[in-house]
């Protein structure tokens, strides 16, 4: 039966075929099951990739506070506008969900976001043409305030929606901008990054770490019922408390802006420091910027720490301190001031009054008169250049102060040639920054101990409120002895109070001041030498108060102010210093140590003199310290401009009108006084101009007729 055999063969072949196919497939299954890999792709990973979805939980950037916990920098929600233009979205909705009327929508939006309605419309139309689902509106449609967002929402425009963003916001605008710095979104990651100041230096601490949430979902994006959620909470950035005091900083900013407006200097900077601790209480530069509007950025540099300059005479305090401390100083010794030439090869040193000097004066007087010759002699003849150099190092003029701000650039000591060594003694050639000088000066007010300046007080965990790190005052050297410091305080006091002292303008009303003025020449950028002209200097002052126990130290420098012929370069400097010093001390409730002549005046209660005889009335008033102006030569008082029991001050005009009034001379009377006189005399007043009376139509001594007309011309006073 060959047919049957072949049939059997056929059957067994098919069986073998199926069996082998079966084996191959199950083998593959088993293999996949065991290894979990196909084409080198891990199935497990692939599955979870398909299923799991991840969301970033952004960490909030840490806030920045002042020393008293006032918010300086924080994050504010802002809104980004977008418009859905795809009509398909509205298919199953009773109300339209996309932009139906591009033109009307554009016109309504335009005024709120300050954008051209045509531009808005064209963005929408463009999007429609390209079959986009939604469009955004560029810069103008971003960073909208909550108020703008609510205004737009109130319009009920279909298709107009918002996304929430977070914007770094600086509460006080232009306020310690160079210290706080600002942030900018990173070009690649769009993450906020601190660019300068604290925002930059402490970027990592402020930034925190983003967290995320992972969950599983089905094809339709719904979360699975038994999803394995993985949540890593974000670590919000830590908060930073500065040593800046908001009150003092605002005061400083206001004064700086005022001076900026009035004198329009090239550059200005001022630092206010707690003299006892090295804490920076306020710091401001001009030009400055508003970190909320970085477009206007004019000056990136924190000049107070990053721009070394030839400082001028303020460094003389360190020259003198070095001479005293090294035992090479006798304050009563006389020297010839005016001009000093070490040898014929070296250009002579001149005193600042064109080399005239003040004859033979003592070194003490040389200090308060800011004599360059005295400084040069102290270095060259008394202590020697090497000793002086050693002291410059002890005062850390050869290194950065280590202040916790980015981009500190220390000055450079030029000390190779004799003339450089001489000029360094009075602040030329070698350069320093204002902060370096302040650091060195802390030794003078702290019995020889030098403090490191700092701006961060503490770092606080924003989630738990725990203090992570606290910064304490740090003594970084002891360049001079206690006795030297005490002697220096006396010398610095003489600069303000002594005869011929250069710092008379820096006196305060309620506190005694110590300090040193400086007028630094500016190197000429075209060609060598220094710039000429009376405005072309950096005027500065480094001062502390009160004298006995200095609490606050201020350094002010103003470069090339525009001066009127009557003004001097120290005017803007002293204006800043006095305002900030006096008010800061008062704000810190430091006891005034200086008497003011008279702080209050006694107000007088006006006596009743109605109907009395003129002579008698005059006597009564004079007893009270009032000198009345008597109008006319009648016997009886017909009227006065003050009521009985009215409170008056000694400066007020008291007018006594007699029963036979004649016109008084009213030159320089104020308008209000003239009006009162007119109503007392019963005359009609016709006035012109404002200010004080310069012309009167009824001449002095003319009798007054009832209902006469008095014409008076007023002129505004000079205010310059």
């Amino acid at each position: 039966m060959p047919k049957k055999r072949s049939m059997n063969k056929m059957v067994s072949f098919i069986m073998v075929l199926f069996l082998s196919i079966f084996l191959v497939i199950t083998g593959r299954f088993i293999y996949i099951q065991a290894s979990g890999e196909v084409d080198d792709v891990s199935l497990r990973d692939w599955a979870s990739e398909l299923r799991e979805t991840e969301m970033v939980l952004p960490a909030e950037r840490g806030k920045i506070y002042d020393e008293n916990g006032n918010l300086l920098a924080y994050n504010r929600p802002t809104y980004r506008l977008y418009a859905i233009i795809d009509p398909e979205i509205s298919t199953n909705s009773p109300t339209p969900l996309h932009v139906v009327d591009p033109k009307g929508t554009a016109e309504k939006l335009a005024p709120i976001i300050d954008m051209d309605p045509k531009e808005i419309e064209s963005i929408i139309r463009e999007g429609q043409k390209n079959e986009r689902f939604q469009v955004e509106f560029g810069k103008k449609g971003k960073n909208l305030s909550k108020q703008q967002m609510e205004e737009i929402k109130a319009l009920n425009l279909p298709g107009i929606n918002f996304m929430e963003d977070s914007l770094r916001y600086y509460a006080n605008g232009m306020f310690a901008s160079h210290i706080i710095g600002f942030t900018r979104p990173d070009e690649e990651t769009d993450e906020l990054r601190g660019v300068i100041g604290i925002e930059n230096k402490y970027d990592k601490i402020l930034k925190g770490e983003d967290g995320y949430i992972k969950y599983e979902r089905d094809y339709y994006n719904h979360k699975l019922l038994k999803s394995n959620d993985i949540i890593k909470p974000p670590k919000n950035g830590d908060d930073i408390y500065l040593t800046i005091n908001q009150k003092i900083q605002i005061l400083l900013e206001d004064v700086m802006s005022e001076v900026d407006e009035k004198y329009n200097p090239e550059r200005m900077s001022a630092i206010v420091m707690n003299a006892k601790t090295g804490e920076i209480l306020a710091l401001s530069n001009r030009p400055s910027f508003n970190p909320n509007r970085i477009m206007e950025l004019e000056n990136w540099y924190n000049d107070a720490i990053s721009t070394p300059v030839e400082p001028g005479s303020t460094v003389k305090m360190f020259t003198w301190a070095a001479a005293i401390d090294s035992g090479n100083y006798n304050g009563n010794e006389l020297f010839p001031s005016g001009k000093y030439q070490v040898n014929p090869q070296i250009e002579p040193i001149h005193d600042h009054n064109e080399g005239k000097g003040w004859g033979r004066i003592t070194y003490d007087e040389g200090f308060r008169r800011s004599s360059n010759v005295a400084a040069s002699r102290l270095v060259w003849e008394k202590m020697g250049t090497e000793t002086f150099y050693e002291y410059l190092q002890r005062f850390h003029f050869d290194q950065p102060t280590g202040i916790d701000l980015p981009n500190e650039t220390p000055g450079q000591i030029l000390y190779n040639w004799p003339s450089e060594k001489l000029r360094t003694a009075f602040g030329q050639g070698s350069t320093v920054t204002p902060i370096q000088q302040m650091k060195a000066a802390t030794a003078i007010v702290n019995e020889g101990k030098m403090l490191k300046p700092f701006v961060v007080k503490k770092i606080v965990d924003s989630d738990t409120g725990e203090t992570i790190k606290e910064y304490k005052p740090e003594v970084v050297g002891e360049p001079i002895k206690k006795e030297t410091a005490e002697k220096m305080i006396e010398l610095l006091h003489d600069v303000i109070e002594g005869e011929g002292g250069t710092g008379k303008k820096f006196r305060l009303e309620h506190y005694s001041v110590i300090g040193k003025t400086g007028t630094a020449q500016i190197p000429n950028e075209q060609g060598g030498g220094y710039m000429r002209g009376r405005e072309n200097y950096i005027f500065s002052f480094l001062g502390m108060a009160p004298k006995e126990d200095p609490q606050i130290m201020i350094h002010v420098s103003v470069k090339q102010p525009k001066l009127k012929p009557t003004e001097t370069g120290s005017d803007p400097v002293s204006y800043i210093f006095r305002n900030v010093m006096e008010n800061s001390l008062r704000y810190m409730e430091i006891e005034p140590d200086q008497e003011t002549e008279k702080s209050s005046v006694d107000a007088i209660t006006f006596p009743n003199i109605e109907g009395k005889r003129v002579t008698e009335a005059k006597k009564i008033l004079e007893k009270e310290g009032i000198k009345p102006i008597i109008v006319g030569n009648g016997q009886k008082v017909a009227g006065t401009n003050k009521k009985p029991d009215e409170i008056i001050f000694p400066n007020e005009k008291v007018v006594l009108v007699t029963d036979k009034p004649v016109m008084p001379n009213i030159k320089n009377w104020s308008k209000a006084d003239v009006y009162q006189l007119a109503s007392l005399l019963g005359v009609e007043l016709i006035e012109s101009g404002n200010g004080y009376a310069v012309k009167q139509s009824i001449k002095e001594g003319e009798p007054i007729k009832k209902d006469a007309i008095l014409k008076v011309t007023f002129k505004a006073p000079k205010t310059e």
């Binding site: 407006e261 305002n579 001050f649 400066n651 308008k671 109503s679 404002n690 006073p717 205010t719």
Partner: protein, 247 residues
């Protein structure tokens, strides 16, 4: 005997009659009294005795009395009983310079009006006329008033917002300081919209800011007490307080 006991009704009639008459008389009398009282009232109301003879105005200083009377719409000669004090008070309080008013009938023939004027903190020029500004910051127009309060003239306040803001500050300043100021000029700059310059009666100039005028101007008397009388000076009260002497 029985008959004797009976008192004849005829005997009693006179008494009854009398009682009846008495009663009638009484009624008549009361009606008559009522009648005459009513007549008297009518006569009183018709006679000049019920007319207002005097209108008494108290408490006004800068507002002329006649103006208050005019606002009250009262007229001498109109009937005192037709005056409703509350209504009159309402009418008077329409006057922009009046803060409070109390009206009372004082019989027989007087209406008494007691007003409390609003505090005027300055004058502002409009044409050739000065208008008072109340401490609420409103400029009162079309009202005749006496410029007897010694308060400053406001000059150049082209923006009413700043005027209102200044009025708010001025409210806090006591009268004895207010009267030292002659003029207040608004001098806004680009950076400081709040800048004002004060011309004082004693000839000094004060540079100040609208924002904190009230807190700073109070020290004015003690500042100038320290100045040399002949010395011309500008007193700065904007940022910090200090004196700039002029040559």
């Amino acid at each position: 005997m029985e008959e004797e006991k009976i008192v004849s009704i005829e005997d009693r009639i006179p008494k009854l009659k009398e009682a009846r008459r008495k009663k009638a008389n009484r009624t008549l009398l009361s009606y008559l009294t009522l009648f005459f009282v009513l007549i008297a009232i009518i006569v009183y109301l018709q006679s000049p005795f019920s007319d207002i003879k005097t209108i008494e105005v108290k408490g006004n200083a800068m507002i002329p009395e006649a103006q208050i009377v005019e606002y009250s719409r009262l007229e001498a000669g109109s009937n005192i009983w037709r005056v409703y004090p509350k209504d009159v008070a309402k009418k008077i309080s329409q006057h922009p310079l009046i803060k409070n008013v109390h009206v009372e009938r004082k019989l027989p023939q007087t209406i008494s009006i007691e007003v409390e004027e609003r505090r005027v903190i300055g004058y502002v020029k409009s044409g050739q006329q000065y208008l008072p500004i109340t401490e609420e910051g409103t400029i009162v127009k079309n009202i005749e008033f006496e410029m007897l309060n010694h308060v400053p003239f406001f000059v150049n306040f082209s923006d009413e917002e700043y005027l209102t803001r200044l009025a708010e500050e001025m409210k806090e300043i006591p009268d004895y300081i207010l009267k030292l100021i002659s003029e207040i000029h608004w001098k806004p700059t680009d950076k400081n919209k709040y800048k004002i310059v004060l011309y004082m009666n004693d000839g000094y100039i004060v540079n100040a800011s609208i924002r904190d005028l009230a807190s700073k101007i109070n020290s004015y008397p003690s500042i100038i007490a320290q100045l040399d009388e002949k010395q011309k000076a500008i007193i700065h009260m904007d940022v910090g307080v200090y004196v700039e002497t002029l040559k």
